[in-house]
């Protein structure tokens, strides 16, 4: 079974600065998807960014980018120019393509990192 580990329970950053959230995962599969989700107090999970394991290029979405190191099984999220609205819980998640081939494509989540933005 796959596992996802987020070793930073909480991170704090000054507004407008850059912060990096860490995520490592354990899998024996070669093809999979990785995600970062944001969960504000409203509890709704919001997709921040997605990475396909077969792509070497790191995904980027505006101020959000990832550093995907497949061999190291590491998938960190960098938030540039942090804004007050970025404050939330951030979850790293894994989707098995092997299981998805059989129709089961639920996500495996880490425990999350609470991001605090200091004004």
């Amino acid at each position: 079974a796959q596992t996802v580990t987020q070793s930073q329970p909480e991170m704090s950053v000054q507004e407008a600065e850059t912060v990096t959230l860490s995520c490592t995962y354990d899998t024996s599969e070669s093809d999979y998807y990785l995600f970062w989700y944001k969960q504000p107090p409203s509890r709704q999970m919001i997709l921040v960014i997605r990475q396909e394991a077969y792509k070497q290029q790191n995904a980027t979405e505006n101020r959000f980018s990832v550093n995907f190191q497949k061999a190291a099984k590491s998938f960190s999220l960098k938030i540039s120019d942090s804004q007050l609205g970025d404050a939330a819980m951030y979850f790293c998640a894994y989707r098995s393509l092997l299981k998805a081939g059989g129709g089961a494509d639920g996500l495996t989540f880490g425990k999350g990192t609470h991001l605090i933005i200091q004004p």
């Binding site: 996802v4 998807y33 409203s42 509890r43 709704q44 999970m45 919001i46 997709l47 997605r50 396909e52 979850f91 998640a93 989707r95 393509l97 299981k99 998805a100 059989g102 129709g103 089961a104 494509d105 639920g106 996500l107 495996t108 989540f109 880490g110 425990k111 999350g112």
Partner: protein, 114 residues
Amino acid sequence: EAGVAQSPRYKIIEKRQSVAFWCNPISGHATLYWYQQILGQGPKLLIQFQNNGVVDDSQLPKDRFSAERLKGVDSTLKIQPAKLEDSAVYLCASSLLNLGYGYTFGSGTRLTVV
């Protein structure tokens, strides 16, 4: 488009009582998921439906939890009888197809068992 609707938003029950949660996915989304999120942890998949059939329920505690998705649209998750450790947020999500993206989550039901 309307999002994934869940109700109730909050529920408090005593242990050994039963409770049910309702989810209405985005129109046309064939796949529906129920997740359990215990305080301080990430969501854990309980069950996945494809239309009205179960695709994955390997992590569903079947002695007390049940779920159904009649007619392949709305879904209900039930706990009977509830235990203290069932206190959590229950999130519903849906997706159009098994494509690995486009998951849309609802705002969940926060269950407190006392």
